[in-house]
Symmetry: D2
Subunit: 328 residues, 4 copies
């Protein structure tokens, strides 16, 4: 697969690493609004910087990986679809639900994977598999904890669409994937406890969401923009026959026992370390989907549905009431 | 302290054990609506069965421990207060908030401890202490998980006032105690996932609550009437400098490593084993309050306030909206 | 059972607590070489100080608990046996193997329990039970780690008979109990790493022993007189179907997660906390043996055999060779 | 670095994977006594099969990785040294100590790394670093547990030089590396508990070793050829200020809590999974040594010294006595 990477920023570089490690995928081009950025990354990974139009027109390019700024996603998705490229797009599709829906419809005939990287994490995959095998009987309650080590720059927060669309979007997707039945209602509560500037920008930095599915399953999501001990990524699934807990991961299992107690390492610091393997598997899933003509693990409609839950959460937080997903 | 135990049922027997183990408290009388029950328990613990009126009139009796059915609490509290006895009363005061409030006012001049046993648990006490010492900086999010091993008999459920008043009442109290500032709003969602008969009786068996405090702290409570692995009692406090986790306790730390993995014991099965030490400390706190003329760790107004949150949760669940505590 | 406690020192007080908590055992007398010590302890536990001769002559006394200095054990055991008392004796019987053997023979017709308290620990008992049930198939290797928090006073060390007789004696007994077949050979190596004064007194403070049983099972014991994190008491049993690990115990399971990592409590500090329940069960086992006319969990011959292994270890350390138990 | 891989068996393939993943090392040739084996591996990794003489004569080849059968090591090492190649050699150098010493002397002027892969494991490296930083004060006792999941084929055992030279050699090296001072004495005890055929072949399958260093540090090593739960690789370092424990590693931290208890995954099954990262780092250390002209983390004299301890252990086991390393 000859793949063009659109976006040479931090997340673009993460994907470039996965591409370099994949035996069947070649980084055929790097595109960025800042040509120097594209050139630097291209040089580091033995590829070349190219123009966006060039890439869409080149029949040799099989696929594009869209990791540019959110505002460009819709345009690039639609152009890539027209050009007959397979697409792997970073989340979110867009900040606007209606526009996302329209795009999803327009690219419906193409292979369009969405980069919900956590679905590819070995531990969460194992959790999903065991739920499917009935390890805990019938799933009843799902609790997702997701905390970033540090808040992003304030400028980023302002353009992010807010915590629900930018950060909790991953957890909404994880909830949908694991609950495995329609989510019917959403309630959200949030506070600004980490940085008052985030509140002044109209956003929250700490939030809790409660959702209910068609059969009455309950799901909570807890987010914070700051956890001093690192990237806190845990999931607890409770059911009629037991409980599964995905625990935080550390670099090593070295334990120190001293006067002050028994000390193990802090969780991995951020998503690059925590989800390195997930990024590799995500690319491979995209490649296999393309090769086998099957659907990817997460597709563009999953992006739309996660955004819909984020929208519902936003309304709920403002109105202090249960929001039914069908309203949105 | 000469103490009369009112109520010779299961929980009465738990208290009798603590009384027997306390060097300064004597079980001076046992009272029960069923005289045989009182006699059996009195015989087992070297005490004697007596009439309720007798107990209130006897100037030798210093204190009463009210562990009879909920419907009797208000009457016994008020009579005990009139008779000048110190009181340790099982939760809830009553199922009706207004009546509970009225009673709390009437006995306000007496020593009246409420049996929120979990406040006396060594692990939760240590958690509270460390919060007070600033171990995690400023508290931001509190998550309480509380699951019973098995649902109570259906008849019990019907008269219990519902999951929020009967079971989650402990968690409301724990939340109030740990959050350490006024709770201003409550949202509740519940389902019947364990036993349809509970739903037919108008109650839920699985529930999630989200609360917010005056300064914006967020608190979730998750309850289930059934956890096949035992009594699931965990608390996670998250703050600006870290996280404290009160984990489930087991009888031993023996670990088996075999083909299927690394296996440690299931959590203790039920409250008798899990909170045995808490019951002993609760009685001692009551005794020390009486001896030193100080307030007990949990008093009757704590019982009123926990019931108020339960009432708010009930309204929220029915109306699908945030309920402000001041409404109740 | 009317029991006289001989020895009102630290370990005597531990036993007095267990006696006070046992519903069927009465502390009928306290004896000590220092009458004031006996009187203080007797007063604290509602008993009375008496003379040693008095105790042996009093037909009302059913049993004696010998917790006096090691040098007195043999005399008291033999007099107690003559007087028809049941005996629970602290370890070691004596520092001299031949004398211990002779005494064991002389009291062979009496109930004589030896205070190997660890056999009564709930966790080690569960380990023993699971070995018996074949949980790990055939036992192949046993590894015992046993470290004190701090060295005893130097004067104590000088009169203790050395690390193998004083400290490792418990581990020799544990090894015999768990290996469940004759130990045929012993090798010992030791160093003085904690306090040079212990070395100057002719003893070691750090030691490792390797033993082999008749069928070839291997057992290691590792001792240190000092572990800054507390009382380190672990056992690992490895077999054809898996491994059992008895882990250190802590007061609570409270966990702190912060910048520096994930911190759980240090192990319990010393034997009083770690083995409190074991001491209670040991007394109850003694009482039940007496009442039912059965053998106690650890008897006087177990004391002789553990001392024999200590003797073999001492020879091995001096001679740098495998010592066969039959040599000793 | 242009590298020739000598030996296309199981371990050769492990190294080929690391070479493929290293950006600066090229697999320039594959050599094997069975030309088809060399060709298959060469094809899989985009290299070519070549003759051994060819490789030594080719001035383009910078280095050889010797992963052929033990009997060939000495010849290849000496020829590679003569040809001016850098060498990374699998352990052991040879089964014969004198021959190994002679070879080590002959290649002393060349870069000759020995493949003690465990020194490169991230967890053991972190342990080594923390010892160096004084995390546990002065090291006093080291305990190494090392168990294979299953015994190798009997034919392999027969030619392996025995458990001490073939399996425990890694632990002897780890002990030398971590103890960081001369080991002066060795005692070994072993049994045949896993498979009687191993005993009939004159070897043991379960063994324990005790060593002492110049300053009196004590070290135990425990080996078994079979652990049903997987590859058991643990190290415990105990010192004046605490303890460090390198624990077994699992694929994920997913935990199941059910009726039977709290279950985490079994340790990784074998060395390929457990030490995958160590193999990558080992190759990189070899490359960096070559590039920078510095000594590798483990060199040929480390191989000689580990073999010397194995020899001492063999003598000790046969003679039942402490063997001083200077004797060997």
């Amino acid at each position: 697969m000859k793949l063009a990477l659109i976006g040479a920023g931090r997340i673009g570089r993460v994907h470039a690493l996965s591409i370099a490690a994949h035996p069947e995928v070649t980084l055929a081009a790097v595109v960025d609004a800042y040509p120097e950025a594209a050139e630097t990354l291209a040089r580091d990974f033995g590829s070349r910087a190219r123009d966006i139009d060039d890439v869409f027109e080149d029949p040799e390019i099989d696929a594009v990986l869209i990791a540019s700024s959110t505002a460009t996603h819709i345009d690039y998705l639609e152009r890539a679809a027209s050009a007959g490229k397979a697409m792997l797009c970073e989340k979110p599709i867009a900040l606007d639900l209606a526009a996302s829906r329209a795009t999803a419809e327009r690219v419906a005939q193409s292979l369009c994977a969405l980069a919900f990287n956590r679905r590819h994490d070995p531990q969460f995959s194992a959790l999903k598999d065991q739920l499917g095998q009935g390890r805990i009987g019938k799933l009843e309650t799902l609790a997702i904890t997701s905390r970033d080590p540090e808040p992003p720059p304030l400028e980023y927060v302002k353009g992010s669409g807010g915590l629900f669309r930018d950060m909790m979007i991953h957890d909404f997707d994880m909830a949908r994937w694991l609950l495995d039945e329609p989510i019917v209602s959403v309630y959200a509560s949030g506070s600004c406890l980490v940085d008052p500037a985030i509140g002044e920008a109209g956003d929250v930095d700490s939030a809790v969401v409660v959702m209910k599915t068609a059969s009455g399953r309950l799901c909570t999501i807890s987010n914070s923009r700051r956890a001093v001990y690192g990237y806190d990524q845990r999931i607890e699934a409770f059911g009629s026959e037991g409980m599964l807990q995905a625990q935080n991961e550390c670099d090593t299992r070295l334990k120190f026992v001293g006067k002050q107690g028994q000390l193990e390492e802090a969780p991995r610091w951020f998503f690059l370390e925590r989800y390195a393997e997930a990024y590799r598997r995500e690319l491979d899933d995209f490649y296999q989907s393309w090769r086998e003509g099957r659907a990817p693990r997460a597709g563009i409609t999953d992006g739309v549905e996660a955004l819909r839950l984020a929208e519902a959460a936003d309304i709920s937080r403002r109105e202090g009431r249960t929001v039914y997903v069908e309203e949105v």
